[in-house]
Structures are given as C-alpha cells and as structure tokens.
Symmetry: C2
C-alpha cells in the first residue's frame, strides 16, 4: 500500500492537520483554534493530540505514514528545523524552538518542517496552478506577503531557509509607509493586510470619497473583507485602495520576473478574494512595466488549492526532493 | 591529456578569446577591438579568425578542446543560443541571430552561449570569490547592472535564459530617473554608469559644490573614471554621487538578500574601482535595512577575477552542469 502523508498547517489563527494520499487527495482533516496563545510545548502537545486523533479515526498507524510535514507561519532554520520567529499574529510566538525535534520525539517517523509559503508553493507546483512548470514563484498576498519559490521541481530555500521573503523587498524608499520590520516602503507596507489601515488613512486624508459607514476605530483596523464589500458596492475609496495594492503587486511581480524569468506566477492569500478587479489591474501594471522585455510569455494565475492549500502543502513537503 | 576550454568574451567594446585549463589557469589570450560596429556575420568571422589564431599559436587542435564557451553582452534564448538583444553599446547590435549555431558551423565542437554576467558569475563561483558557497549572487556594477545567479553549483537561467536582470528591478517608482528600458526608478537608473550623468545633473542643480573643472559637454557624459578621480580628491559632488549609487546598490542587494537568502554576494564591474568608500557604504546601507532579519551572516565581497573574468567565465560555461 502506498504510504500516506500527514500535513500540519501551523498558523497563528488555526492549527489544521490532514491525512493525504501522494496524489494530493485529502482523506480527512482536523482543525483546532485554541493553540495560538499557548506556549511552544503546549502547541506541540496539541499537534501531537490532533495527529493522534486523526490517525485513530482513520485507523492509520504511524508506521503507515511516509512522514509528517509541517508548514509553519514564520521563519525557521531549515537545516535543523528550529524556529527563528513566528509571523505577525497576536499571541502566536514560537521563537528559537526545536519544532522538528519536538515532533520527532512524539512520532517515530520522518518529519519535515518548512515555512508555510514554501509549503503552499510546493503544493501548487505538485497539484495546482503551477503544475508542469519548470520554475514557479508562488506569492501569498495575505496579512503579510511571502513567496514559495520552486525551481526545477525543488523548493528553493537559500542558506538559512528564509529565501522568498519577497514582501520585504523595498519598492519605494521614500515612502511614508512603514512595515512591521521597521523599514520604509517594503512591498508589504504597500499591498498587504497589515498595510491596509495606513493606505486607507492616506486616501481619506487626500479626500477620496467613500460610502462606507465605519467608526474611527473600525477605519483603523479595516481589513481586506470590508474593502472587498466596498469594492463590490463600487465604493471609490475601496477601489482606490485595491488599485494601489494591485499596482505595488504589479511592481513586485515585475521585479521577480526580471530576477527569476519564471514560467508562472501563482497568487494566493486572502486578498485574492478581491477577485478580477484586483487581478486584472495587477496584470495591467505588470505588463506596463514589462514593455518589450518579455520573450516567452509568463503567466500570472490564481492559486487553485486555496481552501486546503496549507494542509496539502505541509503534507507535500515530504515529496520535495530537497 | 585533459581537454582545454576556449572562452570567447563578446562585448560591445572588445572581443577577447582565451584558452584555459579546467583548473581556471589561462594559457593564452587574444583581443580584438574592431568588431563592434560590424554586422553579425562579420562578428562571427572575427570570432572564428581569433579562435583559429589562438589555437595555431598554441598548437592546439579543435579536437583537443572540451568546447567553446561564449559570454555575450546581451539577452539570449539559452535553449537554442539565439540572441534577443545586445546591451547598450553604441554600434554593437546582434539581434535575433543564431550565435551558437553560427559558431558550431565553423568549429566541430561543443558550443555553449550565455549572457556575460552569468558567465562571470559562474567563473567567480568556480575560481573566485564565490568558491565553495551553496548559493551565490554575482552582481556587475558597470555601464548597466546585471547578475549571474549560481544556486547549488548551477547557473540559474529561468524560462528564456534572461533571469538575473536585477538592474531592471524597480526600487523607486516615483523617481525622476529613467532607465534605457523606459521605466522610472530601476536600480540601474540610480546606480550604473549609464545613470551617472542624470545623477550628477541633479546634484549640480541641488547646488552640491564641486572642484571638478569640466565643460558642459564633459558633465553630460561624465563616467565612473572621472568621478573616481573626484572621489580620490575628496570632491564633495563626487562623494555625493558615489554615495547615492552605493545606497541604491545597498537597497538592490537587500532585496536580493530577502529573495535568495544567499551565502554570498560577489560584486564586480567597472564601478568597483571606486574602492572602499563605495564598498563600505554599500555594506552600511545593506546592514541598516537588514536590521534583525539576518540569521546566518551573508558576505558581500569584491570579485577576484576582475581582469580576465569575461574570458574565464566564458570558458567556464563548459563546466556548468546545466
């Protein structure tokens, strides 16, 4: 019997565990939401309990697994599976922690731990919108912006394992917008969920009209969902903000195009729910910058595995040739 | 007997051919300067004649070669060795031309044709400042800015073969500076030989004082050499221009750091003759942006093969695992 893959999607809002066949078919999943404010040891215990629950329910033994893949929302040192920092979620703090080693202590099987964008990118390469392409850059447009880079069928990780932090690329050094990292004018400071309040604030200061009726406090924590509602209602402010995020995303992708000359860009993440007005404008900005410099057509497409990409990606890590 | 490698450095100012041993030792070289304004067929004839001259002088037969590697100053489609466009040199125009095929017709041996920055980067990886590093980004700071990206011992070329065009990365979309490509605010528009006249013009408009005594026409075609003289004489304008080029180079390298997480950056090209005031400020800007985000130290070093990098790189292309 072919061995099953277990995927653990360890994020700041949910901890999702799935059992998957090597062809990408998800057999079962289990999701937990109360782990984020716990300490590292407790988080690992939750992972252990959730994996065990799932295995029992499916009558699968640890020995029937090809291993456990973990997609982690943060930086980690790939060579030893030790976390460096976790992503910008409140309460979710797993720093300098031997995540791989801790899970290996619970389950006698192969454990691979990687950044969640790498995992999702690899899943898109194996089963989704990047399938069959020699070089693919997956970009997640979400609370932050990150990438999973798959070159010649392998995840490219760099020296430490932190390659693909494309959201920190400086695209406007004179920008007033500051990123969580402290720098001005990162892509992420201009086009991510975290950036939305400061983009909205500036548009309002510039007098862009809006029909959105929000309190001051609501304006200050405005998110992609609210702007999406505004977009569908053809609100001028929402359109302007989404347009600016699209323009900066067009710049970011153009830069990655010049650097990687990839076959395809696959875009995922929550902001993609803005739909075609967003995607069309990203492509338009990208093509305006590309001018005469594209010699084989590069595709910009939406991810296909959005719903379960986290779990599928984590499980697929076991199939990366490394 | 180990086979010799023949390297052809096909640039817009010189055509240099060399014979090299696989250990990187250059045995002999021949340089021609009158090819640049000739048509493609004449350029190929010059290559043929120069290679033949060199082989005769060293009593080497074509059959004694492992092949001929060609580093081309421009874009080309790697899969079939057809040029796309040549770089920004006056008179040097080799477009849509089967460069590899034309050389294969003259010499019955293996021919590899690649971009000159890829070739130089690979030479630095094999024999120079990048030796022994898992992932290396070579950046040439010259008339333009380009990169040779070597990952896990192989040149990374992308879909068409045009990966590494890092000079076209947009680092300031609101910039008044225009690149040869037509876009505003590329790295190359802020820190390359081609950009120097516009940077100097703005500094002079801003009233930055200078002791350089140049005519209006000389100011309009100021180059790295003249600014280097100013720098050594501690001229304020020269220091300001070199400082600005260094700052934008720091931004460019920082962006590549976040994307590739490489072991080492190797910097080459004519602007490196500005020496330590330039290099120190590049490192300073880079580290100011890196903040707490570097977990294994990345090195920024000068290329070691500067003088013959073009020929050595071209010859070394024959050793790229592909």
């Amino acid at each position: 019997m072919e061995k099953l893959l277990c995927g653990v999607d360890l994020g700041g809002t949910k901890l999702a565990v799935g059992l998957m066949r090597p062809d990408g078919k998800l057999i079962d999943r289990e999701v937990v939401y109360d782990h984020a404010d716990k300490d590292e040891h407790e988080v690992v215990r939750r992972i252990g309990d959730t994996v065990t629950t799932l295995l029992s329910r499916q009558a699968v033994k640890v020995g029937d697994l090809a291993g456990i893949g973990v997609g982690f929302a943060g930086h980690l040192r790939f060579r030893d599976g030790v976390t460096i920092t976790s992503s910008n979620y409140k309460g979710f703090k797993i720093k300098n922690f031997p995540l791989r080693g801790s899970i290996e202590k619970i389950f006698p099987t192969r454990v691979v731990v990687d950044n969640d964008a790498n995992a999702q990118g690899f899943a898109e390469y194996r089963y989704g919108a990047g399938a069959g392409h020699g070089s693919m850059v997956f970009v997640t447009l979400s609370t932050g912006i990150g990438a999973g880079i798959v070159l010649d069928g392998r995840i490219y990780r760099g020296m430490t394992g932190t390659a693909g932090e494309v959201g920190h690329m400086i695209v406007n050094p004179d920008s007033p917008f500051v990123c969580g990292c402290g720098n001005h004018g990162c892509w992420m400071a201009h086009a991510s969920g975290l950036a939305l309040p400061q983009i909205v604030r500036r548009k309002r200061e510039q007098g862009v009209p809006t029909s959105l009726a929000l309190s001051d406090a609501e304006w200050e924590r405005i998110d992609g969902k609210t702007l999406g509602e505004g977009l569908r209602a053809n609100d001028e402010l929402a359109r302007a903000v989404v347009g600016e995020c699209a323009d900066y995303t067009g710049i970011g992708l153009y830069n990655l195009f010049q650097i990687f000359n990839p076959n395809v860009f696959v875009l995922g993440g929550g902001l993609m729910s803005w739909g075609s007005p967003f995607m069309d404008r990203i492509r338009e900005k990208f093509m305006a910058l590309v001018r005469e410099m594209m010699f084989d057509p590069v595709q910009i497409v939406a991810s296909r595995l959005e719903q379960d990409a986290g779990i599928i990606g984590a499980a697929a890590l076991l199939l990366d040739p490394g």
